[in-house]
Symmetry: C2
Subunit: 349 residues, 2 copies
C-alpha cells in the first residue's frame, strides 16, 4: 500500500428504514467503491484503516425513520453504516493525530474511512491489551457501565443489584463493578450458556435465564426477597415493569437501553409507575457519550483491573466486514455471547 | 365542657374497600359514639378536639385493599377514617404538649381523637394566619410542594416548568415557588374557573383546561415550543406520557401523585420511557413525610411570604364533619377549587 494510493473500499450499506426485527438484507455489502488513502487538501480530517467495529444495540434505533433527529441521527438509506470502532491512522490533517496512531471512536462500517470530525476520537495509548477491547470494555460500552453504575446509581456496599442483559458488553461490566464494591449481584440473560458465564466467569451471586421464567415478578421475588436497591436496565418493557414492583425504598434505576422494545412498532406500556412514588425511587436515563470527558479517569481505574485479572471480559468476534449484517442482526436474537465485535483487519506491524 | 367529661363523638366511618370512583356511601357518619375527654391513665397520648380536616388525593389509595402495607396502610373497613388535620389539645399525657396547644398532624375524621403517637404531631406556634392553613400551605401539602420542587426538581432560574392539577393544594404552591425563582410556569387544570385562578391569582405564565384538549402532545408543544425542563406530576397516566415526549435534555420529573390513575382497576401504561434515555431525564418519586425534619426551615421561608402577600393561597372549605364524604369524593371529579378542607369546629376562645 502506497501513500495516497487509490484502493478498493468495501462498505456495509444501510438499505432502508427497518420495521420490526432487522434482517441481514436490511444491509448489503458494496464492493465497487474506491478511496484515495490521503486526507483531501485543506481538510483537518483523518483517513483511517478500520480494524475492529462495534455492534451495539443502540444501532437499532438508528435504523428507524421516525426518531427525534435532535437526539439521535438515523442511518441514511443507501449510505454506509457508522458506529464505534478501532482504527489506524493512515493520513492526518489534524495536529492531534499522525500516521500510525491508533484511535477509537465513530467511524464507518467499511475498510477505510475519512473521519471529518477527529476531535471526538480517542487516541489509544495502551496497547498491551487486545485492541478490540477499545470497542467494549475500554470504549463506549465500558464508559456506559462505569458512569451508569457509579454516577447514576450511587451504589453503596451491600446493596442489592439487578442487571438485565447481564452477559452483554455493558452488563458483564456493571456486574463486576458492583461486585468490586461489595454489592449482591443478580443478572438475567437469555441462555444457559450466558447464565453459566455470569456465575462462573463474571462472579455474579446469582443468575437466571429469563426465557425459562413465566412470571418475572415471581423470579425477582425469589432472587431478591428483600427487594432491589439498584436496577441497571438494558431491556425495558415487561422486565422493567416487574423490577419496579420489586424495588426497595430509595432504589435507583439506571435506564441504559431497552433492547426488548427496539423492534416493536408500538412500545409496551409500563403501568406501575405509581410504585416509584410509594418507594421514592429515582429512575434516570443516561448516555455514556456525555461522560466522555471522564474517560481518562475511567482508564486509570480499569486498566490495572484488567492487567491484574480482576475483571473478566468476554467478546464474540466475527471475522471480516462481510460478517457485519449477520453480527448486527444477531444482537437482537441474543445470538452473541459477550460483546459483539467485527474484526475488519488485524493491526499490521 | 368539663374536663374528663364523656361526650358524643361523631365519626366518619370507612364502610369497605372501594373499586372505581369512590362515592359518598363508601363512608357514613356514625353518631352513637362517646368519648371521655381525658387521656387514659399511663398513656402518653394526647386527646384533641379536631378543628380542620384535610382532604387529600392520596387518601384514595388508602381505600384500596391490595396496596403494599409496608408502604401505605389501607383504611380499615368499619373504622374511623384518618388523615391530616388541625386540632386543639384538651388533655395530654405527653410532655411536649399541654392543654390548649394547637397541633397539626395525623388525626381522625371525628370530633375528638385520642392520638396515641403524638411524637409525629407538630405544635402550631404561629396563629396570625388562618388555622386551616396548617392542613395545606403550612402543612403536608405545603411541604410536598416545597420539597418536591426544590429538593427533587433542582430548579434553576429561567427553566420551563409544567404542573398538572395546578390549582390544587400542592400545584398552586409549586407554581408560585417556581415563579419566585424566575421560572416560566404553565399549569393544567380541569375547568375555566381554575384556569382563571392560575392566571390571575397565582401568576402562572400560561394555563389550560386539559378537558378541552384533544391532543395533550399538541397542547404541550404549543405552550412549550422549546420543551419542558421540569414537570411536577400530580396526575400520571396519559398526561405523564405526553409530557415525557416533550421533555428537554436533562429534564426532571417529580412524581408527586397520579390522581388520574387512583380510580382505575388497571393503571394506564406509559409507553415512551425510552425518551428518558435519549433526553437523559431523571424521574423521581417522593413523599413529603420523609422531609418533615425540614419543616421549621420551610416555615421560616414561607411565613414571611404569606404575611407580605407574596404567595396567594385558595382553600375550598366545607362546613361540618357531615360534609366529609362529599368533600372527599369531590376531589376525584375535581369539584373543589383550591385546597379542600373540612371545618369540623372553629377555634374556641
Amino acid at each position: 500500500m502506497v501513500d495516497g494510493e487509490e484502493v478498493r473500499n468495501k462498505k456495509v450499506i444501510f438499505r432502508d428504514y427497518v420495521n420490526g426485527f432487522p434482517v441481514e438484507s436490511d444491509m448489503y455489502l458494496s464492493t465497487d467503491n474506491t478511496i484515495r488513502l490521503k486526507v483531501p487538501e485543506g481538510s483537518n480530517g483523518v483517513l483511517v484503516k478500520n480494524l475492529y467495529l462495534s455492534c451495539d444495540p443502540y444501532m437499532r434505533i438508528r435504523m428507524r425513520e421516525d426518531e427525534d433527529p435532535t437526539v439521535i441521527t438515523s442511518f441514511a438509506p443507501g449510505s454506509v453504516m457508522t458506529g464505534f470502532g478501532v482504527a489506524k491512522v493512515l493520513d492526518s490533517g489534524h495536529p492531534k493525530f499522525k500516521k500510525g496512531d491508533l484511535i477509537w471512536g465513530m467511524t464507518g462500517f467499511e475498510e477505510y474511512t475519512l473521519i471529518t470530525t477527529p476531535e471526538s476520537l480517542f487516541k489509544i495509548e495502551h496497547t498491551d491489551v487486545p485492541l478490540s477491547y477499545y470497542t467494549g470494555i475500554l470504549g463506549m460500552p465500558g464508559m456506559t457501565a462505569y458512569v451508569g453504575f457509579h454516577e447514576i446509581c450511587s451504589p453503596k456496599k451491600g446493596e442489592y443489584v439487578f442487571i438485565s442483559a447481564a452477559s452483554g458488553a455493558v452488563g458483564q461490566l456493571v456486574g463486576q463493578f458492583a461486585k468490586l464494591i461489595g454489592c449482591y449481584v443478580v443478572g438475567s440473560a437469555g441462555s444457559k450458556e450466558k447464565v453459566d458465564l455470569l456465575m462462573n466467569k463474571f462472579g455474579f451471586n446469582k443468575a437466571f435465564n429469563y426465557k425459562e421464567e413465566h412470571d418475572l415478578n415471581d423470579v425477582l421475588k425469589r432472587y431478591f426477597p428483600e427487594g432491589i436497591d439498584i436496577y441497571f436496565d438494558n431491556v425495558g418493557g415487561k422486565m422493567l415493569e416487574a423490577v419496579i414492583l420489586n424495588m426497595r425504598e430509595h432504589g435507583r434505576i439506571a435506564l441504559c437501553g431497552m433492547i426488548s422494545q427496539y423492534n416493536l412498532d408500538q412500545h409496551e406500556g409500563v403501568n406501575n409507575l405509581m410504585c416509584l412514588i410509594y418507594k421514592r425511587v429515582r429512575m434516570e436515563g443516561f448516555t455514556a457519550t456525555e461522560y466522555f470527558p471522564l474517560y481518562s479517569k475511567f482508564l486509570d481505574m480499569i486498566l490495572p483491573h484488567i492487567r491484574e485479572g480482576k475483571i473478566a471480559y468476554v467478546e464474540d468476534i466475527a471475522k471480516g466486514l462481510e460478517s457485519s449484517p449477520s453480527a448486527l442482526v444477531g444482537l437482537f436474537s441474543g445470538r452473541n455471547v459477550g460483546k459483539q465485535v467485527i474484526e475488519v483487519a488485524r493491526r499490521e506491524a
